[in-house]
Each structure stands twice: as C-alpha cells, then as structure tokens.
C-alpha cells in the first residue's frame, strides 16, 4: 500500500518554443502512514507534483503506481484513485457551494454512489474529525469564519475516506492560532487513522514541528528527501533555492559561532530549549 513515482517527467508546452520541464526524473516512494512535508519556492514544481499523485496530470515520462498498480493503465479506475488520494487545494473554502455545511460535506461521498445513510455517516464523522461543533452543521458555510470554512472544506475530502491526504498550504491566510488549530487537528487525525499526510507548506516552522520527513523540490527535481533535522542542516543551500530553516536553527548556529557549545540540529522550540538548558546546566556546575 503506497505511492511510487518511477522516473516521472513532466513537460508542458512540449511542442512549442516555450516548453517547460516542470518535473525532472522524480523518484519517490511514499509508504503508508507517513507525515510528509513538501517544500519548495514558488514555481519549484510542488503543485505539479501533487497533481500527479491523484492523476489530475499525466506524466510525459515515467510511471506512477498506487498500491502496486499503474494509475495510467488503460483499465485503471481513476475515480477510485481520486477517492483514495484526496487533494485539498489552496484556499479550499472558495470551493464551498452548498446551502449548509452538512450538505457540502455530503457532496463527495454522494457522488461515489454511496447510500444516503452511509453518505451522512461519513459526513458526520468527517466533520467530527476536523473538530467542527454540531451547532454549525446546518448553517450556511459562508457564515463561518475563515478557519472554520477551511475545516469544512477539508472534511469534504475526508468524507471520501482517502488513504492519502494531500493539503496544499492549508494554513495560508489564517491567524497564528488558526494555523495551530488546523495543523494540530491534522496531526491528531493522522495519529488516529494512520492516514498518509502530505503537507505542502511555505512555513518552515510548521513543517519542522509536525512532519517526520521533508521533501524539498527545486527546479522540478527532488533536492533533499530526509528527516527535518538533516534537511535543515543544509540551511545555506535552502536559502539559495528561496527557502530557509526555522528561526531556531539560526539561533543555534549563532550561539555556537559565538562560543556557546550547543548542538545545532534543533528544529523546534522544545528541542532548542532542552539543548540550551543542557549546555548552560553543564557550564554552571
């Protein structure tokens, strides 16, 4: 049970003078149950990559396998793929359209041809999973706050019971608390259901805090693919490609350069705090 990208290439505008090589020989294995961060500057190929994962774009070279099957084989059921690999676009609340929250979340499962009862059970479960209180279920989605709307939109994808959930910048435009709430909810969901989560993000701090593996895209290729600690050690290279490390990584680097003997691989506040306390503790005694 996994997604495998085997030498995937994607060129658009191939027969014109403006051909763009958006993905170059991408090789990735995405096993079940991982929490993955996908980062890269604007135009690095992140969005093109995620659109390949549920078959929205067909690679111009190479093969994509989902659970061992080639997703572009003649007899492959794409509809099923799209219910199994759920993609939440940027600003998904712009896609809400139903008269109330509950109907909106029902739309996906209803189109899978499920019974009314099954559809409603799934919608209810999905709204619970994103932490929306019952009182909002029969309100117009347009009367909710930004963070709530976004959760409804995510519930709409969860109601399809995906095995892989891809979120394209789910926290853009939300206030800090709203950011934490959505990401905490996703982390909890991943814990409880064992679903694979791919988080596309521009926030290095968020990625460092939540994911277990980071894939860095640059000019259509995979630049790094490793645990956060290792990836953020390459902060100078990351800066060259328009990214950065979390601020704590810079703090640790600066401390070490100025003579405080800390290890520099902390990527979260908690790790940095422990490391600084460890070093100060030692120098006190």
């Amino acid at each position: 049970m996994s997604l495998i990208l085997d030498h995937v290439d994607y060129v658009y505008g191939g027969d014109t003078a403006l051909a763009v090589h958006a993905l170059k020989d991408v090789e990735l294995v995405i096993p079940d149950g991982q929490f993955i961060g996908l980062i890269g500057h604007t135009g690095s190929g992140k969005s093109t990559l995620v659109q390949h994962l549920n078959g929205l774009i067909k690679p111009t070279g190479g093969t994509i396998y989902f659970n061992g099957e080639d997703i572009h084989a003649q007899d492959y059921d794409k509809k099923k793929l799209r219910s199994k690999v759920g993609l939440v676009f940027q600003y998904p609340e712009h896609q809400l359209f139903e008269i109330d929250v509950f109907s909106d979340v029902c739309f996906g499962p209803k189109n899978l041809g499920l019974t009314k009862q099954e559809t409603e059970l799934r919608a209810y479960a999905a709204l619970k999973q994103v932490g929306l209180e019952d009182e909002y279920f029969y309100q117009s989605p347009f009367d909710l706050s930004g963070g709530q709307k976004r959760r409804v939109a995510i519930a709409g994808v969860l109601a399809m019971k995906p095995e892989v959930l891809i979120l394209d910048e789910p926290t853009a435009g939300l206030d800090p608390k709203g950011r934490d709430e959505i990401l905490d909810q996703i982390a909890k969901l991943k814990e409880e259901t064992g679903i694979t989560v791919i988080l596309v993000s521009h926030s290095m701090e968020d990625v460092a805090k939540y994911v277990e593996r980071i894939i860095v895209m640059n000019q259509g290729s995979v630049l790094f693919d490793d645990v956060p600690k290792e990836v953020f050690q390459h902060f100078r290279k990351l800066e060259e490609v328009g990214l950065a490390a979390p601020q704590v990584t810079y703090i640790m680097q600066e401390l070490r350069e100025k003579g405080l003997p800390v290890r520099t691989d902390a990527t979260t506040i908690v790790e940095a705090k422990q490391e600084i306390l460890r070093v100060l503790g030692k120098s006190y005694t």
């Binding site: 709203g178 328009g242 003579g259 600084i276």
Partner: protein
C-alpha cells in the same frame, strides 16, 4: 495632527439572510482612535475577523465610518470632493498579487496609476523607473508579470502604488501567499520605502517576525484596539497575545520558555543577536 487619524471610528454593517431580511447588525470596528505620524512604520495585528482589514479600508476611503471620523493628511474621508486626493495619498496593497496586476508588461502596470491621474507621459516614465528601482524590480521592467514569482509580483504591486507618490501605503497581508524568500523580499522593500523614501507604512500581517522593526504595533480584537506599544512592549506579553489568537517570533518564544525554566533573560527579546548576547553573558 498625524498623517492618519481616526476619532472614535465605528463601522457597522447589516447582516441579511438569503431573502434580504435583516438578521442583525455587526460592529466590525468599535470606537477606534488611531494617530499615525508622518514617516512612521505601524503594524496592525489581530486574529481573523478582528477588524484589521475593515479598519484599513477606511484609510483610503473604500469604506466610510458609520460613526466617528477618519482624516488622511487632514482631509476628512467623508468629504466626497477629497476622495481622489485621499486615494492618491494613501495607497493600498492587498494579499493576492494576481488580483492587482493588470498590465501585460511590468512597466505598463506600474504606469497605470499615474496615467489615470493625468500625469504627463514624460513624468510617468520617470516615476515608473524610480518606483521599480525602489522595490528592486527595475531589471524586470520589460517582463510579463506572469513570468514573475509571487514576491516579485507583490513588489510590482507596491511599485504601482508608489508611482502615484503617496504619503502613506497600507499593506493588507502582503506576504500571506508567498514563500520564505518572497516574504523576505517584500518586507525588505517595504522597510526601504519607509527608511529611504520616508513613506508612512501601515502593515497588516500574521507573521510576527515581519514587524519587529515597526515603530508602533496595534493589536485588534473584536473591532477594538486591545493592545498598543512598541514591538518589545507587545511581544513581552506572550500569554496575552496567545489569548488573542496571536503568537510571538520564534526567538521571543524560545527566550520566554527559557525564562520559565529559570534562566535570567530580559523580557521581549526580538532578535537572534539579542538572545545570543544575553545567553553568552549568563554562560560567563
């Protein structure tokens, strides 16, 4: 009087259901008094729905007060005769660069504002050049905007505003859609406008690190100003900010956590350098 001043500004709108019946009244801005000096860099923070954008839209007369008054450079925004002068003096930049760029070529886009004001052609080109140089985009003047990155597009939007020679510029979450590099580029351009050109800046953002150099910070909640002060004064109050659904820069949070563990650090550390200095002193 400062360049921007509001006196007991109130903005209310009527909520209606689908049939158009009145459901109630929402007070989005509630008795806000603001006084911004010419040349200041002011930041406005607040959670989604706290009233920041509604307040900002009053400054260039997109919205008018329900009660109270807004003056821009001494002009009352309710005075219809001044509306074009106000909009020229207080320019606005929004979140999504793709919604703000209309030209086919960068330099045409930047020239659109002054052209509409009836600036002579010669001077338009001069202003386009100055504005693009001010945001570091001059070498892209002949590009098509859709070939640019998010941060570059947003800097073109800013150039389009400063080509109208405003006295102040209001930026409503200009970096929300950008990658780390794009955010850095835009913040650097905005600081340069303030430092070098002396343009008054009002920056609305959810990224706390972007405002550590501001002269003054206002925090909004439920349409009111809940906190105001220098960045150091504001970011010293970690718990209060969290109650208001906000945050502090990572370095400030780390210093706060170390303080809680008994390390003797000053309140409101804002930069990596400050923290390093303070820790080195302790180590000795």
């Amino acid at each position: 009087m400062g360049i921007i001043k509001t006196d007991k500004l109130v903005f209310e709108y009527i909520r209606r259901d689908e049939e158009g019946n009145v459901e109630g009244i929402t007070r989005a801005v509630d008795e806000v008094d603001l006084d911004v000096k010419q040349g200041d860099f002011v930041a406005i923070l607040g959670h989604n729905g706290s009233g920041k954008s509604t307040l900002a839209k009053h400054i260039n007369a997109i919205l008018y007060p329900t009660e109270g008054t807004v003056w821009v450079d001494g002009m009352d925004t309710k005075n219809e005769n001044d509306i074009w002068n106000i909009r020229q003096e207080a320019g606005m930049v929004f979140q999504n660069p793709d919604n703000q760029i209309i030209g086919q070529v960068v330099e045409e886009d930047v020239g659109f504002g002054p052209e509409n004001m009836g600036v002579p052609t010669e001077e338009i080109w001069q202003r386009v050049e100055e504005s693009l140089k001010a945001v570091g985009m001059y070498q892209y003047r002949k590009y098509s905007p859709n070939k640019l990155s998010g941060g570059q597009k947003q800097r073109v939007s800013i150039a389009g505003v400063i080509a109208m020679h405003p006295k102040c510029i209001i930026l409503d979450e200009p970096t929300a859609m950008l990658d780390p590099n794009g955010r850095k580029e835009v913040v650097r351009a905005v600081r340069a406008l303030n430092d070098v050109e002396g343009i008054t800046v009002v920056l609305i953002t959810h990224y706390m690190e972007e405002i550590i150099h501001a002269d003054r910070v206002f925090v909004m909640d439920k349409g009111r100003i809940a906190m105001q002060g220098t960045p150091r004064e504001i970011f010293s109050q970690v718990e209060r900010l969290k109650e208001l659904r906000l945050d502090v820069p990572q370095v400030t949070l780390l210093a706060y956590e170390l303080q809680k563990s008994g390390i003797d650090l000053p309140d409101g550390i804002l930069t990596v350098e400050e923290l390093t200095q303070a820790l080195l002193v302790i180590q000795k």
